[in-house]
């Protein structure tokens, strides 16, 4: 039968769905009413996104609930590592390039050429 979703229940789905609505609305109203500013807002929003992603991975995709050996979980973690290297590395390189060659606008690498 449906091996991957064997342990899926309507209750866990509803719980995941409700949590996602709350997390989305929290993020939305934080921005809409400007309840936080600057780095505090950026960090909180990123945190909320990561929490919601984990909620969906666990309650909708059933990550880590498979039988041992948890090969799907392992693949996911390896992907996460590669993702951190690619995304983190790209941003690091581009922003440091930006800072080192920047004359006036400390914002973007493309505006510099104007």
């Amino acid at each position: 039968m449906e091996e991957h979703f064997k342990k899926a229940t309507a209750r866990s789905y509803t719980f995941g769905f409700a949590s996602c609505i709350i997390l989305t609305l929290t993020a939305y109203f934080l921005v809409f009413y400007r309840l936080l500013t600057g780095y505090a807002l950026i960090l909180t929003l990123s945190g909320l996104a990561v929490i919601q992603a984990i909620v969906q991975l666990v309650f909708f995709l059933y990550l880590g609930k498979e039988r041992k050996p948890r090969i799907n979980l392992l693949t996911f973690l390896f992907m996460a590592l590669v993702l951190v290297v690619i995304v983190g590395g790209s941003l690091w390189i581009m922003y440091s390039l930006n800072e080192r060659t920047m004359m006036t606008h400390p914002k973007s690498p493309t505006e510099r050429s104007r």
Partner: protein, 201 residues
Amino acid sequence: MNTEIAMHPNLALHHEETYEKTVFGFWVYLMTDCLLFGSLFATFIVLSHATFGGPSGKEIFSLPYILAETFVLLTSTYTCGFLGFAARKKEKTKTLLWLFVTFLLGLTFVVMEVREFVLLVLEGNGWSRSGFLSAYFTLVGTHGTHVSFGLIWMLVLFFQILFRDFTHDIRRRMMCLRLFWHFLDVVWIFIFTFVYLFGVI
């Protein structure tokens, strides 16, 4: 088939093993897709201030509209789960009903997104306007394309269930579809946060 089962009492077990392999293969595909989206996100973040005199996210994004889009997709991911529960009990009508509801919600999402794109292009803010808009259209458009392919998949599955009932093949396809659909919603969380919410700050 019957003689096959008589000769191989482990046939059910064999099917389960094939399921696991298929799920693993599909999962690996989803992970590589994640890397594709990750690269597009990195591109978008680098180019997010490169407006080149054009509009920034603050001027073109309407947050309430995006919130509605988010809830439509989130609800479709929820109904997609119930599709699986109905299929497990082999309730054909219920399965088709949930599949139809999920399809409609997915279609609503795609139509909303296309409307947003068309309005932007008509206002002269197409993908050729600035680096920011190129990255925006590429990232959100790639996600929208994935959702559209999911819709085609649902349509095919709908008619397969309607005419052929629940064979092992169809159930396997449905399982992959659920993984695909849930995965797309996970990607959308990050688009919602990093593109739209960060865009209007």
